[in-house]
Symmetry: C2
Subunit: 160 residues, 2 copies
């Protein structure tokens, strides 16, 4: 099997397809507002907002891992794994492991003290996979989000 490589701008149309495939699996098919040109501008400009690894099979990208830096006030710079996606038809062949290997090597080379990500608590196959790799699934920590509408309402309330 190929090894993962860094994504290029030209990979972004396929990367977005995989992002949308995952959104369907996560039961939020309409949530993806990012476009191909957003990904191309945000990931490949002067100050890239993310780093993306891709894995090809027969010349087609079938898996991606998209990461960026965060900052822990306990551990300093950390690497966040935003998406680890393998196309539906290539699940169970070890692509996810190869991509996660690449992310952890990248974090190790950057000398960070933490790699973090998020998982749906009903996605037991993902949780089993992550735990088998030594990760700690912190079931007592929940994710909180204020969405675009929430931001707008919030600002309207405090300025009116």
């Amino acid at each position: 099997m190929n090894q993962p490589r860094l994504a290029t701008k030209n990979d972004m149309p396929r990367v977005l397809e995989l992002i949308k495939e995952l959104a369907v699996f996560e039961k939020e098919p309409d949530a993806v507002e990012v476009t191909v040109s957003d990904l191309q501008n945000d990931g490949f400009g002067d100050k890239p907002k993310f780093t993306c690894f891709v894995l090809e099979i027969d010349g087609v990208v079938e898996g991606i891992a998209l990461v960026y830096s965060r900052y822990s006030t306990w551990k300093g710079e950390a690497i966040h794994l935003e998406d680890l996606i393998v196309s539906h038809k290539h699940r169970g062949k070890g692509l996810g492991s190869l991509l996660l290997d690449e992310v952890v090597k990248y974090a190790y080379q950057k000398k960070v003290r933490r790699v973090c990500w998020e998982v749906l608590d009903w996605n037991t196959s993902a949780i089993d996979f992550y735990e088998s790799k030594g990760a700690n699934v912190m079931r007592d920590w929940d994710v909180v989000q204020l969405d675009e509408k929430g931001i707008n309402n919030y600002v309207k309330n405090i300025t009116s």
Copy 2:
């Protein structure tokens, strides 16, 4: 009451005290490895890794909000609230609200479509506070971490 302001390098000793106070509350008193000089270098160099707001009472910083950018593959750039801390003796006076207001205004000005953070599921007073502000506490999303030891073990296993 004062309004929040941007932190300076000189605030970092007090900011670290508040970070450590929160770590005690979260039952992880020994987890803070970051030092004052880490915070000063990481927050105030050429490429700041975070932005910190502070709120003073009687000339002493009694509350902080520390944020940085993340990247959602659904919504694009997002603001992550890493820490919202009010000193124990000044809880319940509205400092947390003023700091969260500042964070949401900052996100609004940056035109991002999401503000995100994490909460301990047993911290019901924090959860009530966040929900009263319109945030969505996603109880089905858990936080996953691979710590420094986990990173080292992982790399050792895949390279041996």
